[in-house]
C-alpha cells in the first residue's frame, strides 16, 4: 500500500545571494501596482495622441504641478486605508484647502513666511490634524466614516469662514512651485521627498506593522503589535501628506482657496482603489496610490481634451471607480478559485501528508 505521492514542495532554503533575494522581494511587494502602472502608461500615450504638446518638456512643469495634488492626496489617503478596519479619511481634501487658507490668511500675515519656518509649521499642523482623526478612530473607536466626515465639515466650514473667497498671498519661493529649476520641475521636490520618506518607512518594521494591522488587527494585537499607535500614526501621516499638498496648491494658486479641497475626497478614494490597494486594508503601498492619482488626472485630462462635457467627467469618474473595484474584486476571487489557497506547504519528515489540492480549507 503506497504512501502519498512525492512530498510536495520540499524546497531547500533559498540559497540565492542576498541581493537577488532583495530584488525579488521588492518586485513582489510592488506587484499589486503593476496593472495600475500599465494603465498610467497607456493613458499617457492616449493623452499624447489627443494633445501632442503633452509630451513636450516645456510643459512638464505645468502638467506636473496640476497632477501633483491628485498624486499627493492619493498617497495621503492610502495611509489610513492601509491601516484597515474600514479606515479611511474623508477630510484630507478639505484639510488641504484649509492649509492653503491658513498659509495665505494666517501664517504669512503673521510673519511666518520663510521656508525654514513655514514648512515645518504647516507640516506639523497637517500631522497634528491627521493625528486627531487617528485618535478619534483608533482610541475613541468612532466609525471612521463619521469621524472623518465630521472633520470634513469642520475644515470646510472653518476654512470658508477664515477666507470666504479665494485670495491672499503666498511667499515668492512658494510661488515657484509651478515653475522649474532649470529642467527640473519644482513640484517634483515634495513628491520625491514623500517617496523617500516612504521608502525609508517600508524598510523599517513599520511596513510589517502597518500591513499586519490593516490585514488582521486581531492577529496583530495578539502578536504584540501596538495596534492603536500604528493606526493613529497612519492617519497622522495622511494628514502630513495632505499638508504637503496644501503647500503645493497654495504655491500654484498664489493664494488660499477654501473650495479647492472637497472635490478631492471622491477622487482620492477612487485613486486608491485604482492603485490596486485593498480598501479593506493590509495590501498595497504608496506607489500604487501615486499611480492611481495619476490615472484619475490623466482620465479627466483626456476627457477635457477630447471635448467631453464637464458633466460627463463625473460620470466617467464614477464609472472608473466601479471598474477599478471590479478589477480589485476579480483578482481576489480569482485567487480563491484557482485553489492556490490550501496547498499543503509541508512535507513531514516521514514523507506523509497528503497534498491538499484545491479548496481553501483542509479536508
Amino acid at each position: 500500500m503506497s504512501v502519498a505521492a512525492a512530498p510536495p514542495e520540499a524546497r531547500p532554503l533559498p540559497q540565492r545571494r542576498r541581493w537577488a533575494r532583495v530584488v525579488h522581494e521588492e518586485i513582489a511587494s510592488t506587484s499589486y501596482a503593476w496593472a495600475s502602472l500599465a494603465a498610467v502608461v497607456a493613458l499617457y500615450i492616449a493623452n499624447v495622441c489627443f494633445q501632442p504638446s503633452f509630451v513636450s518638456p516645456s510643459n512638464w512643469a505645468s502638467i506636473l504641478s496640476v497632477i501633483a495634488p491628485f498624486v499627493i492626496i492619493a498617497m495621503a489617503e492610502a495611509f489610513p486605508i492601509l491601516a484597515g478596519n474600514g479606515g479611511l479619511d474623508l477630510s484630507l481634501g478639505p484639510l488641504m484647502g484649509f492649509v492653503t487658507v491658513l498659509i495665505a490668511v494666517v501664517l504669512v500675515p503673521a510673519g511666518i513666511s520663510a521656508p525654514e519656518f513655514l514648512i515645518p509649521v504647516v507640516l506639523a499642523i497637517g500631522f497634528g490634524a491627521g493625528l486627531v482623526n487617528g485618535l478619534l478612530v483608533a482610541y475613541l473607536r468612532l466609525p471612521a466614516i463619521i469621524a472623518t466626515l465630521g472633520a470634513y465639515l469642520f475644515y470646510t466650514g472653518f476654512a470658508l469662514d477664515l477666507q470666504p473667497s479665494p485670495g491672499g498671498s503666498v511667499p515668492s519661493w512658494l510661488q515657484r512651485m509651478s515653475g522649474s529649476y532649470g529642467p527640473f520641475p519644482a513640484v517634483l521636490v515634495p513628491i520625491i521627498a514623500i517617496a523617500i520618506l516612504w521608502v525609508i518607512l517600508i524598510h523599517t518594521a513599520y511596513r510589517r506593522n502597518l500591513l499586519a494591522v490593516g490585514g488582521d488587527d486581531r492577529a496583530a494585537y495578539t502578536a504584540g503589535i501596538p495596534v492603536k499607535v500604528i493606526r493613529s500614526s497612519a492617519y497622522a501621516f495622511g494628514g502630513l501628506l495632505a499638508a504637503v499638498a496644501g503647500l503645493v496648491v497654495a504655491g500654484m494658486l498664489g493664494g488660499g482657496d477654501a473650495t479647492v479641497g472637497p472635490p478631492y475626497t471622491i477622487t482620492s478614494i477612487a485613486a486608491v482603489a485604482l492603485g490596486g490597494i485593498l480598501l479593506a486594508g493590509g495590501r498595497g503601498g504608496l506607489l500604487g496610490a501615486a499611480a492611481g492619482g495619476a490615472i484619475m488626472f490623466l482620465i479627466q485630462n483626456l476627457l477635457t481634451v477630447a471635448n467631453v462635457s464637464a458633466f460627463d467627467v463625473n460620470i466617467a469618474d464614477g464609472g472608473l471607480l466601479l471598474v477599478a473595484l471590479a478589477l480589485n474584486s476579480f483578482v481576489l476571487t480569482g485567487r480563491r478559485r484557482r485553489g492556490l489557497a490550501g496547498m499543503r506547504a509541508v512535507s513531514r519528515a516521514d514523507g506523509t501528508g497528503g497534498s491538499d489540492r484545491g479548496g481553501i480549507e483542509g479536508g
Binding site: 474600514g86 466609525p143 465630521g150 478614494i269 480598501l279 474584486s329
Partner: protein, 325 residues
C-alpha cells in the same frame, strides 16, 4: 469587514444608553431658553417639516445601515429627483407620472447599488460614491445644466408650514412622515423581511448558509433607500422651489448622522428606524439652534461637525478590539 462579536460586548453604561432619548427634550429646553418664540406652533411645525424631510430621506439610510452597509448616493439621487420632477412637470407631464418616474429611477439606482456591492464584494461606501457620481453627472448632462422647472402648487403647500391635511392644521408632509414611520417600524419588527434584514446585517455569511437570499435582501434594501431618497427629492422641489442637482448635498452627512446619533450601529444587525427618528429630531434641533446662535453658515457647518463627533464619542463607539478576539 468581519464582525465577530463575542460574548464580551462592550455595552454603554445605562446613562449613555438613555442619551439618544434624553437629547431630544434637552435640546428643546435649550431652544426654549435661547430662541424667541420657540414654543410657538409655527416654530414647532417648521421644525417638524424640516425633520420630516430629513426623516424620509433617512429611512433608506437606516435600512441600509441595518444590513451593515451605507448609502452615499442619497444626496445625488435626491438631486436627480428634484431636477427631473421639476423639469418633466414643466414639460407638461402629469405630476403623478413625474413622481412615479423619479421614484422608480431612484429605486433602480439603489438596486444597482445593492447588486454591485454583493457582486463585487466591496464596501457599499465606495460603490454608492461611484454610482452617486454617475447619477450626478448623468442628471447634469440630461438637463444640460439648466435649472428651470415647475412645481404644482399643492406640492408647495404640502411642505409648507401653513399647509393643512384636510381639517387638521398640520402640513401633509408631517402626517406622511408619521405614516411612513409606523409602516417602517412594523416592517422592521413584525415581518419576516425585517427579521431577514437584521440577520443579514448581523452575519452575512451565516445568512447565506441559512438559505437567506442575501443578494435579494441587499437589492431590496438599497432600492428602498433610493426610492425614499427620490421621494425626499420631490419634497425638496416643493420646499426650495429650486431645480438644482446639488440641493441634496447636506443630506450626505445628515442622514448618516441622524442614524448614528439615534444610536443605531454602523456595524449592522441592530437599532432601527425608531432610533433614527430620535436622531432626526436631535439633528434638526441642533441645526436650528446653531442658526439661532447667529453664526455664519460656515461656522455652523464647522460646529455641527464637532458636535456630532462629540455626541458619538459618548455612545457611538465601535466595540473594542479585545472584545472581538
Amino acid at each position: 469587514m468581519s464582525k465577530a462579536i463575542g460574548i464580551a460586548q462592550v455595552k454603554r453604561a445605562s446613562v449613555l444608553r438613555v442619551l439618544p432619548y434624553a437629547l431630544v427634550p434637552i435640546l428643546y429646553g435649550l431652544g426654549l431658553a435661547t430662541i424667541q418664540g420657540y414654543s410657538s406652533k409655527l416654530s414647532i411645525i417648521s421644525l417638524l417639516v424640516l425633520a420630516s424631510m430629513l426623516g424620509i430621506a433617512a429611512v433608506g439610510q437606516t435600512l441600509v445601515v441595518i444590513v451593515a452597509g451605507i448609502d452615499l448616493s442619497i444626496p445625488f439621487v435626491l438631486g436627480m429627483a428634484d431636477v427631473v420632477v421639476t423639469q418633466e412637470y414643466a414639460a407638461g407631464w402629469p405630476f403623478w407620472a413625474c413622481v412615479l418616474v423619479v421614484i422608480l429611477a431612484g429605486a433602480a439606482v439603489g438596486a444597482a447599488n445593492g447588486y454591485l456591492s454583493r457582486l463585487l464584494n466591496v464596501y457599499p461606501l465606495v460603490i454608492t460614491l461611484a454610482t452617486g457620481s454617475i447619477v450626478f453627472g448623468g442628471v447634469l448632462a440630461w438637463s444640460n445644466g439648466m435649472t428651470g422647472g415647475l412645481v404644482p402648487g399643492y406640492l408647495v403647500s404640502a411642505v409648507s408650514v401653513i399647509g393643512r391635511t384636510g381639517p387638521i392644521a398640520v402640513p401633509p408632509v408631517i402626517v406622511g412622515w408619521l405614516v411612513i414611520a409606523v409602516v417602517i417600524i412594523v416592517v422592521q419588527r413584525r415581518t419576516a423581511f425585517g427579521r431577514r434584514l437584521y440577520a443579514t446585517g448581523d452575519n452575512p455569511k451565516a445568512a447565506d448558509l441559512a438559505h437567506l437570499n442575501v443578494t435579494r435582501v441587499w437589492v431590496i434594501t438599497f432600492a428602498l433607500s433610493g426610492a425614499f431618497a427620490a421621494m425626499s427629492g420631490v419634497l425638496f422641489a416643493g420646499f426650495t422651489t429650486l431645480s438644482d442637482a446639488t440641493v441634496g448635498e447636506p443630506y450626505l452627512f445628515q442622514t448618516i448622522a441622524a442614524v448614528v446619533i439615534g444610536g443605531t450601529s454602523l456595524l449592522g444587525g441592530r437599532g432601527g428606524y425608531g432610533r433614527t427618528i430620535l436622531g432626526v429630531l436631535t439633528l434638526t434641533q441642533l441645526t436650528t439652534l446653531l442658526v439661532g446662535a447667529g453664526l455664519s453658515s460656515d461656522m455652523q457647518e464647522s460646529l455641527l461637525g464637532l458636535l456630532i463627533v462629540l455626541l458619538l464619542a459618548m455612545y457611538g463607539r465601535e466595540p473594542a478590539l479585545e472584545s472581538r478576539i
